[in-house]
């Protein structure tokens, strides 16, 4: 019994050990990962290939470059500031202009000094001590009405796992009150299964149970189809072609006016998507890897 159980797991599920040793770091040098690990580098690869990405206003690599670029923050009503090497959505500052200064979607007020301190913190490397980073200032993506109709808060995204131009699994990550607007499963966002062929939403998973409706808004989403799904699939294939990695996670957001945009790509995508889909990744990978 135990032996067969182990066999089933080994045949179907992609575990952390196999993901790391057998899939991600196979055939790749450290250099290949920079495309995924640095958002500026990602854009430098994707943009020339015509793959849509959020518009970049500025990249700040030094404290003294904040001054000359300050206008690109100050003059806009909506901007996002994030670390180019940040992970798990940490240290992302979403700003909205007010009469007195700025505020975040959560209602926290920022003045110019606080924003500049945030940028300095990113540059000095809050995430990994010792490592310097750059801050990227981008246009704020406004969620498509399809997603706002499910839950109006934060920015949901679509995660596609791909291996050598083959799309394996997809899910949508929809923020909740618990996740504080973040589309991060670890922080409480809902993971919703997406049918790869049709783009139809399935049930949402919150680490405990599967729900057909959003826990906060109560909107029943299961059965609805993600708009622009064919475009998202095409974009995912295009990303696979441009990026030198065999296995990757592609995060796509759906902007109200611009449609699907690649927010970032992930060289070490999480395994939770298997729970969201109730489907093992290993079955979908070529037998040579298992």
């Amino acid at each position: 019994m135990l032996q067969t159980l182990a066999e089933i797991f080994h045949r179907q599920v992609l575990g952390m050990n196999r993901r790391n040793a057998g899939v991600i770091y196979r055939n790749h040098t450290r250099r290949d990962f920079t495309v995924a690990d640095d958002k500026v580098a990602t854009k430098e690869v994707l943009e020339p290939a015509g793959i849509p990405v959020p518009q970049t206003h500025a990249v700040l690599g030094e404290i003294r470059s904040i001054g000359p670029h300050w206008s690109c923050i100050a003059e806009r009503s909506n901007v996002v500031i994030k670390p180019t090497k940040g992970r798990a959505g940490n240290n992302i500052l979403v700003l909205e202009r007010t009469d007195a200064g700025w505020r975040t979607p959560a209602g926290r007020h920022y003045d110019a000094a606080a924003i500049q301190r945030h940028i300095a913190d990113i540059i000095y490397g809050t995430q990994s001590y010792g490592a310097w980073d750059r801050a990227i200032v981008e246009a704020r993506v406004v969620a498509h009405p399809f997603f706002r109709g499910i839950y109006d808060g934060g920015l949901p995204d679509v995660r596609v796992i791909a291996h050598e131009d083959e799309l394996l699994l997809a899910m949508s990550r929809i923020p909740t009150a618990a996740s504080d607007g973040k589309a991060n499963l670890h922080q409480g966002a809902l993971g919703v299964r997406i049918d790869l062929e049709t783009g139809e939403l399935g049930a949402g998973y919150d680490y405990r149970q599967y729900h057909p409706e959003h826990p906060d808004s109560g909107v029943h989403f299961a059965g609805r189809t993600v708009p622009h799904w064919d475009a998202m699939r095409a974009i995912s294939h295009a990303v696979c072609e441009q990026v030198p990695l065999d296995y990757l996670g592609i995060d796509i957001v759906l902007d109200e006016t611009r449609g699907p945009l690649v927010m970032e790509i992930n060289a070490r995508p999480g395994l939770e998507i298997q729970n969201v889909n109730q489907q093992g990744l290993l079955e979908k990978l070529p037998p040579a890897l298992s």
Binding site: F9, H10, A21, R117, G280
Partner: protein, 526 residues
């Protein structure tokens, strides 16, 4: 590659075991005790004596002298049937004087299997040289009617020896244990129904002699970590050609536990000194694990060559203890790797648990965990206001480190003050890694909430404890010092683990829908 990494070190270890003729003795743990006897005299001038029994080095208790600071005294040792009588003499001393004598001993437990068929001895059959062990003395009044009546009441009608010994032992053992200072004879002990070690042992000896079994008192020390001012007495009965030990007070029948140190035979006082001098003594006892080979070397008075490899480092002032902790670190790290990659536990910092565990080797596990927790909580408590105040990351880290250092120094000072000397090793704690881990705890606390942070802290504690348990195994500690080649076995283990792509144990729980689906399928295979 792995074959080489396993084979070559094993071959090297094996050949060294054969060439040095140590076998597995070099890594077989045996507990040893460092005993420091300290005698304080307040001399009044004139010739002053102080004497005691020093332990005999025997097969059961090999002894090695470590230190002798006689002060102005001259030591003379005389061996007789009672033991090694040591006498320190000084011709003309006055004022406070201290004599220190330290030795290490590797005692082993002895247990006798008594022959069930053995017959009771008859008085005539006892050899002349053992007749003295049947005689009455002041404290063992064999001829007193009280003892004879008691003996007759206790002894069953049988011609076999074992039931007699058992009945007498059980009676002596039934006495309530009492902390009498001074000596109590066999009859008084029995009448009171309570006695300390000497009363109980005298009663057993008196009863045994009445039953015509040659028997005698033995004096010594129960070895326990700490400071002692009391000695111990037990009995030996001559059965089947052996002096068999019995400690009725502590219920050891035909057994001498490993931590009993024999000092003298007979009903003696442990210390003698010139009358009219102030006299005080204490034994400081510290146990530690050593190899059986070291014990053997002490027995034959030859130096143990086990750690000859490290001689240059030791001469340069590095202690073997510190060296051992350093060599054990990769063991702790491998345990962490196992817990992360095979079990799938999440911990703070990859190797922090191993580093904390190695610091615990010196402080003891509970204190190490306490230090880890207090430092983590302090850093978390400081992290939040510092971040709110907008202090940038790197300077914030430096500030936190100041407080971690202060806290460790405070803990160290506190432990030294309280006399927990080994806790002064708090200084060994890996400050930088501890600080960065504590910071990670703080950000974890803020991003994922207290439950998740507490969970990971708990798992970190579990991994620290397991890694400590392995590093603290005596055989592991002895092996890394005697055969550092074993570290290459760890390389092989980690090479294997580094390419192992199996499912982690916790992943079975994480993806349990697969199990549910399987059981559903088994129940209804459509």
């Amino acid at each position: 590659m792995q074959g080489l990494l396993v084979g070559v070190p094993l071959l090297l270890i094996g050949s060294r075991m054969v060439v040095n003729d140590t076998g597995v003795d070099a890594i077989t743990p045996q507990k040893s005790y460092e005993v420091t006897l300290q005698m304080d005299l307040e001399a009044m001038g004139g010739t002053t004596h102080a004497g005691t029994y020093l332990p005999r080095s025997t097969e059961r208790q090999p002894v090695e002298v470590r230190r002798h600071r006689p002060g102005p005294f001259e030591l003379e040792i005389a061996n007789d049937s009672r033991g090694r009588q040591a006498e320190w003499t000084a011709a003309d001393v006055s004022g406070p004087q201290r004599i220190t004598y330290a030795f290490r001993v590797w005692p082993r437990s002895v247990s006798y299997q008594l022959d069930d068929a053995q017959r009771r001895p008859s008085p005539g059959a006892v050899a002349p040289e053992r007749q003295q062990y049947l005689r009455a003395t002041d404290t063992v009044p064999v001829d007193a009617p009280y003892i004879e009546t008691l003996h007759d009441r206790l002894v069953p009608t049988t011609d076999r020896l074992l039931p007699v010994v058992r009945a007498l032992f059980e009676h002596a053992a039934s006495l309530e244990s009492a902390d009498f200072s001074g000596s109590v004879d066999a009859i008084t002990a029995d009448r009171l129904g309570r006695a300390s070690c000497n009363g109980v042992s005298r009663l057993l000896v008196a009863l045994a002699r009445t039953a015509d079994i040659p028997s005698r008192l033995v004096g010594g020390l129960i070895l326990e970590d700490g400071t002692k001012t009391t000695s111990h007495q037990w009995a030996e009965l001559y059965i089947g050609g052996h002096w068999v030990p019995f400690d009725a007070l502590n219920g050891h029948f035909a057994t001498l536990p490993a931590h009993y140190l024999e000092l003298y035979r007979g009903d003696e006082f442990l210390f003698r000194h010139t009358p009219d001098v102030g006299f005080d003594y204490q034994f400081d006892i510290e146990s530690r694990w050593t190899s059986r080979q070291e014990a053997a070397a002490a027995r034959t008075s030859t130096p143990a060559e086990t750690y000859g490899l490290w001689a240059p480092l030791v001469e340069a002032g590095l202690s073997l203890d510190l060296l051992r902790i350093l060599l054990l670190l990769p063991f702790g790290a491998s345990i962490v790797v196992f817990f992360r990659n095979v079990v799938g536990l999440e911990t703070y910092g990859t190797f922090l648990p191993a580093l904390i565990a190695s610091a615990c080797l010196a402080t003891g596990l509970e204190w190490g965990l306490l230090a880890f927790l207090t430092v983590t909580l302090t850093v978390a408590a400081l992290h939040v206001p510092l971040e709110r105040a907008g202090v940038l990351h790197t300077p914030r880290f430096a500030i936190l480190m100041v407080f971690v250092v202060i806290q460790l120094l405070l803990l160290t000072a506190l432990s030294v003050q309280a006399g927990w000397v080994n806790l002064s090793y708090f200084i060994l704690f890996p400050v930088v890694i501890l600080t960065s881990t504590a910071e990670r705890f703080a950000s974890h606390l803020m991003e994922d909430g207290p439950i998740k942070a507490a969970k990971v802290t708990l798992m970190t504690g579990v991994v620290i404890a397991c890694s400590y348990a392995v590093m603290n195994l005596p055989v592991v500690g002895l092996t890394v010092l005697a055969f550092p080649e074993v570290l290459f076995l760890l390389v092989a283990f980690n090479l294997w683990l580094g390419r192992w792509v199996g499912i982690r144990l916790t992943e079975y729980a994480r993806f349990r829908w697969l199990i549910d689906r399987q059981t559903t399928y088994a129940a209804d295979p459509r």
